[in-house]
């Protein structure tokens, strides 16, 4: 006996003419990315404590938290009313403060808030304290951006090294569009942008590149196989041939990230939602952005380069 697959995502021999929708795809992407760029400046990203500095403390009160009491007690320490909020269940309180002018001031504030909380509702315990000074947050931000930038460059060089330059340009332009959308998503949802989010964006980058590489691999192979097929048809053919794989892998990564979004708790859920968004965007951009860019870059050059000797054989 043999256990055959029960379902297929798309039937064999599917021939969707994706390139017909290329202008629609690219224009939609351009609009969404432009909107994201606007969102990046207004309202801007909700910088988390890693990058903005400041203090976040989480406390558990013995009974239901008395917010009136806590807010009054903390107001005496200069904490704004909006800085004291419920966090999860009714016994949990989160206190947020901006970064203090000096490092010592930051630390003094932590001690003051702790004391005020413990006094206002006796039995209250501070279960989490994050305090990041101005110099550290500035450094973390720089390093995070550096990690993003260098990763992009390395991806560019890798694809350039393994493929023709048109593919590298196509992949990196697509990645930039993907990343701007993820940033727009972050600005819109107000998820905190912190180091973990940089991790999410890098994962999206890696995953999205992976997707493009597979489609490009097939295109390169087909360029050699069908010497006379018009590029437009050839791109359509390549996308269709890899469609089951593109959607299949997106599904598995999506399924892996979904429980993180649902059960991962405060730290991971924002991260996972951005991942999920990135997976959808990355899959769509493999089909509608990365491929049309190649079409725009031109058939002649691609064919000449692909036929040139000394290139690695197609996979």
């Amino acid at each position: 006996m043999s256990f055959r697959p029960l379902l297929r995502i798309v039937p064999d021999g599917t021939r969707i003419r994706f390139m017909r929708g290329r202008f629609f795809g690219v224009i939609t992407s351009a609009i969404v990315s432009t909107a994201s760029a606007v969102l990046f400046f207004y309202p801007g990203l909700n910088l988390g404590i890693d990058f903005a500095g400041g203090i976040v403390m989480e406390a558990r009160t013995p009974g239901p938290a008395d917010f009136g009491l806590l807010r009054t007690a903390l107001a005496a320490q200069g904490v704004r009313e909006s800085g004291v909020q419920r966090f999860g269940d009714e016994n949990s309180v989160a206190v947020r403060l901006g970064v203090q002018p000096t490092e010592a001031g930051n630390q003094a504030m932590v001690a003051k808030v702790r004391a005020a909380l413990e006094q206002a509702q006796p039995g209250t315990r501070v279960v989490r304290t994050d305090a990041v000074g101005a110099s550290v947050s500035a450094e973390l931000f720089q390093k995070g951006m550096l990690a993003l930038g260098i990763s992009m460059l390395m991806i560019l060089f890798y694809i350039w090294f393994r493929f023709e330059w048109q593919f590298a340009v196509g992949a990196v332009v697509t990645l930039l569009l993907d990343v701007t959308k993820a940033i727009g998503f972050l600005a819109l949802t107000r998820f905190e942008f912190d180091l973990v989010m940089i991790g999410a964006i890098l994962t999206i980058l890696g995953y999205s590149t992976n997707d493009k590489v597979v489609v490009y691999d097939r295109m390169r192979e087909n360029l050699r196989k069908y010497k006379t097929m018009p590029l437009r048809d050839l791109i359509d053919l390549s996308i269709n041939e890899t469609l089951n794989r593109t959607l299949g892998t997106s599904m598995t990564v999506f399924l892996a990230a979904l429980p993180l979004a649902l059960f991962g708790g405060a730290t991971l859920s924002g991260f996972a939602w951005v991942m999920l968004f990135g997976i959808v965007v990355g899959t769509a951009s493999s089909i509608y952005i990365a491929a049309p860019i190649l079409l725009f870059l031109g058939e002649n050059r691609l064919r000449r380069d692909a036929a040139a000797p000394g290139k690695p054989p197609a996979a």
Binding site: R4, S151, D211, L260, G264, G265
Partner: protein, 526 residues
């Protein structure tokens, strides 16, 4: 490619079994002590604890160095017979400036300063720490070279780490980790500590203790202290100042022990201390010469107490009394035993997590991991049939190997790290999906089953490597530039990518080949 020798099969299975064995330490204690028993460490965000990032005040280090250099320069100039001069430290330019107001002594001054430089460059292969220059207005400058600055900074950080370790050890924290980070920072990790308040307090004090004479002839209420005298805050009378000679008679570095105790007569909390031989001798000399006068015990530029010397103190033992309670007396004893920091430390980052919050995080991570794993396995079974099951076996092996490698390196698992494991598993099946889709295509192109598997694997392999390499590179960058828990994420993903290449390509293929050898007549279940 589609042939697996017995040896190769044994190697692949052996690797998986070895991986399983390496995972065991995480589940049970070592049965015998000689076995290398390496486990994954839980990050502070999962087990609860406190992470402190301390910064050594490098400006203070330089300032102190320049102050002592200025002192040495003054002594040297005086010894050269120069009387009218002014030496000022200029910390902004890392130098001291010496203005000589006796025109005929310029050469003598230069010689004296050159001598000072030579004395400070001993044993360093003639490489000068200090550079002598003369300014257009006729004054001299002695500048610390960049090399000297770096060395001085390094020494200060190393010494600070040692003192920090001693102070933390005194508090009884189990398994603290203290390490240098970058140029001027120290990372302190304190497992199980939810409120590091006391430790921050202990680390926040330089605890430089000095014994100096009180300048009894100086009125501390005048505006500017005369040369050689400091006006220091008097701890016993808030708001008042006391005039203390700048000259240090005995330094806290000469203490060998300090203990908190209670004075048997008054019941007051005190700190009893013992000097080493040098300290004992000096203290004896000073006290003998100054009976009836006051000396000051100065801690971090504050006078703790200023008793009158009643008789020569020769035993090398002493007692500090001054408005202590049990806690402050114990803390001071701890600080004195551990020694003084070379420069003040500031906490620039703190992350503390209570143990129950860590337990919550572990639960959230474990539930997500279990559900995600299950979803991927069901998906692969439904969409890829038997070969999907092979991929699932490879996936389980991947998880085992991933845990094995993390244990072997004694890596730290954080909450983002758990997310990384899950995402790796989601992405690892990509290789199997690529291979299966390719084999299916080759079958439809009319190839024989064996040929289809062979071609499918060969063609998919390059794609698999390309697609994994980019993800791998991105996360290596995250590891190098990231900090804290997110590095745990980068670690699990990079290790997971590496192990998944092995399981998805080697193990799943082996299963496929073995299955085919047993079921030659059947069409491939793709």
């Amino acid at each position: 490619m589609m042939y697996f020798s017995r040896l190769k099969t044994a190697l692949v299975l052996g690797a998986c079994v070895l991986g399983g064995l390496l995972c065991l330490p995480n589940l049970m204690p070592a049965p015998v002590s000689w076995l290398p028993w390496r486990t994954i460490h839980l990050g502070l965000d999962l087990r609860g604890g406190s992470y402190l990032l301390l910064e050594v005040d490098m400006n203070a280090v330089i300032r102190e160095r320049l102050d002592s250099l200025a002192d040495a320069a003054r002594t040297g100039l005086r010894r050269a017979g120069i009387v009218r001069f002014l030496v000022t430290p200029q910390p902004g330019q890392n130098r001291i400036a010496a203005r000589i107001d006796e025109p005929d002594k310029q050469d003598a001054a230069a010689a004296a300063l050159r001598e000072l430089i030579a004395a400070n460059s001993q044993g360093r292969g003639g490489r000068a720490d200090l550079d002598l220059d003369s300014l257009p207005d006729g004054s001299f400058t002695v500048t610390l070279s960049p090399v000297a600055l770096t060395e001085r900074g390094n020494a200060a950080v190393q010494q600070s780490i040692e003192i920090v370790r001693r102070r933390i050890d005194e508090t009884g924290v189990v398994d603290p980790q203290i390490a240098r980070q970058g140029e001027a920072r120290i990372v302190v990790q304190l497992p199980g500590i939810e409120d590091p308040g006391r430790i921050k307090e202990l680390l926040g004090k330089t605890a430089r203790m000095t014994f100096r004479m009180v300048a009894e002839d100086v009125n501390p209420r005048v505006a500017v202290p005369p040369p050689g005298v400091d006006f220091l805050a008097d701890e016993s009378i808030p708001g008042s100042k006391i005039a203390v000679r700048r000259r240090v008679d005995v330094d806290g570095a000469n203490l060998t022990d300090a203990r908190a105790g209670q004075n048997s007569q008054t019941g007051e909390w005190v700190v009893n201390f013992t000097f080493d031989s040098v300290g004992s001798r000096r203290f004896a000399d000073i006290s003998r010469a100054s009976v009836g006068h006051r000396f000051a015990i100065v801690l971090d530029d504050k006078v703790i107490s200023a008793p009158v010397i009643r008789e020569a103190i020769t035993g090398g033992r002493g007692q500090i009394s001054g408005h202590f309670d049990a806690k402050s007396a114990t803390d001071l004893a701890v600080l004195l035993r551990a020694g003084a920091l070379p420069a003040p430390l500031t906490v620039v980052e703190e992350r503390s997590v209570g143990p129950e919050l860590g337990a919550d995080a572990i639960r959230a991570g474990a539930i997500s991991l279990a559900v995600g794993f299950l979803l991927v396995i069901v998906y692969m079974g439904v969409f890829y049939g038997l070969f999907g099951l092979f991929a699932n076996v490879a996936l389980v092996a991947n998880l085992v190997l991933l845990i094995a490698v993390l244990s072997l390196f004694e890596a730290t698992l954080t909450l983002p790290g758990m997310a990384g494991i899950l995402l790796t598993l989601g992405m690892a099946v990509d290789a199997n999906i690529l291979i299966n889709e390719r084999i299916r295509e080759e079958v439809r192109n009319g190839r024989s089953p064996l040929n289809a598997m062979e071609t499918g694997y060969r063609r998919a392999l390059a794609t698999i490597i390309d697609s994994n390499a980019t993800a791998f590179l991105a996360h290596v960058m995250l590891f190098f530039f990231g900090a804290g828990p997110v590095r745990g994420f980068a670690v699990t993903i990079t290790v997971g990518i590496a192990t998944s290449l092995f399981t998805a390509v080697m193990l799943a293929r082996m299963l496929m080949v073995r299955w085919y050898a047993a079921n030659r007549q059947q069409p491939l279940p793709v």
